[in-house]
Symmetry: C5
Subunit: 361 residues, 5 copies
């Protein structure tokens, strides 16, 4: 989750909701700003003993997958084509307000259970060609199917797809609710990648703060704090979401999947723990930094004061005997010059001794 993305996202969030003002609730309008990418609908339909995988151009053809006999995962990349999304929503009978949540890429992560269906809105963090990217994803679980709606192509589910294709693990033997869990699990696991990157930057800041010769970049601390806050805002509601799903057992979530969801819950809590720990460390770095800054100021001022205390009185004395008065008896005195040196050195030594007693040297 790069800083620029987060800032853009924040600004967009406020703007798009402002723009939608006046439309009746539930109006299917796309409120993101991705455009022109062709919509891409992928269907994976499987049972323990068979697997169908196909690409669909027209959402209308999906109605045959509404049955419960097999598990169907329908993934749509590109929610900017609201009509396709609406066609799917009509086939699978989604509530109009869910439509709005699916089409708004700036919504707050959340989970809602309605009759036998579950909607989860989450933020997905993944690498597209080496760049960490964050996008919103909406997942709908129904009897025998899971729908996933993404803003763009590219996601964190490639390994899940190959597990389904190869029939590895439990996935092919379980129902749609297990698929839902697997999708969420992969989203949460992907947070750890982003965390790792954040942690290494916190480590760098910490090392810099402890090295007296380095100058810490204020902007870096600031940016990191903002990112951690944004990250937390993405993960925090996730905990509530999974918790809501756990409470929905007996309904759309079967008892067999509950332990797996609890595992996802544990991972979300762990992400929050690491985030909280990072945040505390950044605050620690900030305080350390403030403290080091004022120590340095003290050191600088000690030097200035020391130099001034030693040399300014001497300069005064020298100035005195540099005066051009006609009648200055000391000037005529044979030992005047050594006497002046004695006074000057004495005053300087007083300053030095005084500084030494205050442990400045």
């Amino acid at each position: 989750m790069s800083n620029t993305t987060a800032k853009r996202s924040r600004r967009r969030r406020a703007r798009t909701l402002a723009e939608k003002r006046g439309l009746p609730p539930g109006t299917p309008v796309y409120t993101g700003d991705v455009e022109g990418v062709p919509v891409h609908v992928q269907v994976i339909d499987y049972a323990p003993d068979r697997l169908d995988e196909l690409e669909v151009d027209d959402a209308q053809r999906l109605s045959s997958y509404r049955d419960e006999a097999s598990v169907t995962w329908i993934n749509l990349d590109g929610i900017h084509q609201a009509d396709q999304v609406q066609a799917i929503a009509r086939i699978f009978d989604l509530h109009p307000l869910w439509m709005e949540d699916i089409l708004n890429p700036q919504g707050r992560p959340k989970a809602e259970v309605l009759d036998d269906k579950v909607l989860v809105v989450a933020r997905m963090v993944h690498r597209v060609e080496g760049v960490v990217n964050t996008e919103q994803v909406a997942l709908v679980l129904g009897p025998g199917w899971v729908l996933t709606f993404q803003e763009q192509a590219g996601d964190v589910w490639e390994s899940l797809r190959s597990r389904i294709r190869q029939g590895k693990g439990r996935i092919r033997k379980m129902k749609a609710d297990y698929l839902m869990h697997a999708l969420l699990d992969d989203i949460v696991d992907a947070y750890f990648v982003a965390l790792e990157e954040v942690e290494s930057r916190v480590d760098g800041l910490e090392a810099a703060a402890l090295d007296p010769s380095t100058r810490i970049d204020n902007a870096a601390i600031f940016a990191l704090k903002q990112e951690l806050a944004d990250f937390r805002r993405a993960v925090w509601p996730m905990r509530e979401s999974v918790s809501a799903l756990l409470k929905a057992d007996g309904g759309p979530i079967s008892a067999a999947v509950v332990p797996y969801l609890r595992d996802v819950y544990d991972h979300v809590v762990q992400v929050m723990d690491i985030l909280e720990s990072s945040r505390e460390r950044v605050v620690g770095v900030y305080e350390l930094h403030l403290s080091v800054t004022s120590h340095r100021l003290n050191d600088i001022m000690k030097v200035l004061t020391l130099v001034s205390t030693i040399f300014i009185p001497g300069t005064f004395v020298a100035g005195v005997y540099g005066m051009n008065f006609k009648h200055m008896p000391e000037l005529e005195w044979e030992y005047g010059y050594p006497f002046a040196w004695a006074v000057m050195l004495g005053l300087g030594a007083l300053g030095g001794i005084w500084a030494w007693r205050r442990r400045w040297l």
Copy 2:
């Protein structure tokens, strides 16, 4: 919500309540300070198949709309004419204490359910001729009707009115509780306009804080913090209000409207989220600013110390050989002048080297 408005509102709130002291509770006295604007009562009465819209001068004529057959929305602009408000209240049988809440434009946003009626007090943010304005609005839902009481003309419901007139969306087919939801939804949506303006100011402050050549305006940070606090105080009770309405289902709120209200609830939470994020960013800007300020102080002092360390010892030496003692052997010495330069340059170089080793250069 401009700063001046908020401050005026705060001061007024304390004053008006202080002024009402000693009156028995429920006394219908207007406690705001808008005066002289003519009261304006607008009635919109609709059913799926028909629509009546009229302006009423005398509140007494509204009694025919008390029935449940059609949905009636009665909007009053100008609560300063307490007698008109009271006439309406009598016709629709409102509790005397609700009267007090309706007439006090400085009340705390809240919701109350009493038998088959619901009172919601909220703060409405809207643009009147380009200026963001905030006023209090009271909404009362009863069986078959909704009353709205505003301080002034001008509100956020124009698009709702045209939707009712044109019969677009669900609105004409639904009951009064859906109308109540639509009114609240538009109030909450209007918060996003104000948020957008606040966000752009936070962005500006952030950019200024990160640019070392800009000097941040302390007063701007301060004002923004106050505004965010005021905004939060307006939105926070709104969440409780909508939550209270959600708990009133089965009573005045029908089950069909609950999902729509939950949607409003989500939007309120989102506003609070953005507000909280803005607040954190302003705190971040403040800390960054403090940190930058002390860095600059360090830099300034380094320069002063450096200049002093290099030149003050030299000035002392120059002063010494500027003395007018008769017996100063160095003055007679042939290489005295180069020797003095050597000493002066040496002392200056010592200062420079010392600074360089402390990485000041």
Copy 3:
């Protein structure tokens, strides 16, 4: 609530409780420090159609008012005469521990329900001859009567008394629980007077903090913070008290009075809201103030550094050519003097340019 009063109150609170150590709980001992003022017992006994008002010297004569037929309000000014209080307590059968609460003027505001009686301890804020004064007041509601115990004469209930006398509003038609509500309502309304005064001081501080030419008085911020904290400590338990009364409906509080008490509750919450807002503004002023202080330090140091950077090198050069060495070729040189000026001006200009590039000028 003046600062001195609050401090005295705090100290007294700890001391008196320390002094009572070793006495058995419930011992009727007055623990305040008001003395010598004559006790004053006022009785107002009313029904919808009649009103008796009298002054009583001897508490023993009050036993006839214990009945439920009419509403009796007995007000005692001067709890330092513990025997009078105890006589009343015996007649109306109050719990011994309530005696202790009534006689201790430093107690914590609270409410207790016991069988058919309710005790409320609150802090009353009122003006006695122009000075804001705060004193503790204990209210006891029983079947058909309300007892109020004050430390001193003078209270916030004069307008209530005239309403009772003139039979205005609901008061004469309602029971003792409504009287209880009216007493509490007037206490809470009086907080707004004190709030108004506090708000105007916060406004003054804010204006001073934003005006760069004013020097903020640290002690004023400090005193205001203490007062707000003391105020909050007085109001906070009031919320719990009213909330406890609300839960006592069905018992001593009838259902008809509940909406009125809820109104009082709303006012208490509003007082807390304004207090919280004031507190945040004072914190804001403090931070603004700190920030302005360090800005000023930076400005001061810039000036010092600028002056030093421009003149100290020049002074050094002038010192060099003020030396009295015999062999100083520059002194003999024809253009020596202009050359020295060139060097001095050049060094000064370097300092100036450097400062200009750092945007100090």
Copy 4:
């Protein structure tokens, strides 16, 4: 609660628990560090009409007091003789884990109800020969008896003992649960003595912070904060303890004693209130102090800058005309000297005017 005691207590707490590692739970080992003082067991056995008071050397002789007919209070000073404590524990059938709590003088205050017995561990603050002392005390309430275990002789219960002896108040007429309440009441009342001392120190700090001529002692603020934190840690669990006792009514605590315990509860809450208020005041003093410190720095720097701005340019000019160049036309000029003075005074005046316009003078 002196600072040294608290620090010793903290360190001891960690150490003794570390030392007990490896022993099975419930092993009766004394973990304090008081040694050699002879154990002292005092028995007070009373009924409304009679009183026995005796000292017992051997705990074995206490078994006759296990009956419920009279109220027996057995007080043991000196828990370091674990065998005596264990003998009592066996007679009155205490749980082995309670033994551990009684013998560990560094435990956390708490209350536990088991069948018909109640254990309360609390911290007792009292004066032994003028010095405030804090020690742990364990109280066990059973049917007809109360056991109290102290570390040392000397406690806060002398006045209670004389009330029992003289039969004053309710105490002789009530059961053992009332005795338990009376013991707790005296412990809580003794906190107010310590509070009074703390409050007067906070008052002193406040006065010092507001007097500009005083220099605040950082260490005093620091020590006071630590003491308040330690005090709070002692009182905080006390609230839970009394609350737990209140919930045990119907069991070991009879309904008649509940109002008295609620009174103790109120006092504990009041202690916490005063502590919290003191803590806030100390934080206020700290902030005031920081603010005053930076104000003083600004004042110091203003003086330095003013002196430098006025005299350094003049010194430079004087230096210029002190140079010994052969060709310096100004030196020959008749009005050279007044001209130099004019330049020097002009530069100094510029500095003065500039400072005056910035309101430094």
Copy 5:
């Protein structure tokens, strides 16, 4: 828990979870980084009247201990050999997700109850050859057996083992749930050792902060804060874990063991208390330190300003009379030199008096 360990642990935690991405949940993969150490399985099987103790190479041979007749404690050192762990898991029928928790040495401490089994994951702090070491340990309680899985050899249970061998205390007479409690008790007791070391470092910092001649090490405060935060993060979930076990009574935990577990719970709360107290003290040290630093700056600046105020005006005067103007009447004046001294001393005295009046001297 040394700082380096904690940092390594933090980094590893994020990394390993990131690496596991894409594997199906419940896959038994070791995610730690200890390698090559031979796995070591120790079995202690006991009843009140007998004890078997043996080492097992192959986990397959453990199936005979699944019965409930005797209590069996199976301890495995070295979870990096996932196949051994999985063999045990299969024999004792552990849930696949528990496998994952056992094999992941960076998990969050937690407790889970499933049917008749309990999993507790905790962090164990112990000394291996004098170095404080922290490792994760997983405990599984089933009917008649307890499994413990450690990363490395060496633990805090040696004294427990000898108590079992020697039949001391209750341990041999109780069931497996008591063994579980004893294991947890020893883990919690070991925290006190680490706490003691932390406390002594806090004491050292406090002493250093109060001694004006010492310079506090910023990095030490910083490191201590981080360690306390890490420690707290290890202990905090422990409280929830023991609390979860307490709620599982009636199931795998018998009522007889509940008081012992409550004792463990009390100890965990006490550890948290001490940690919290340490954290507050470190914050106090930090604030004291900041305050001392700014006091020192003030002192330094006072000296500089004093020296400058006394000598700079004098130097200016000396400079004036060092000028070489032809016409300088004072130079010819007989008392010029004493007059100059008078002026210089006067200016210096003015500075001194001014400083004395500001109480700088």
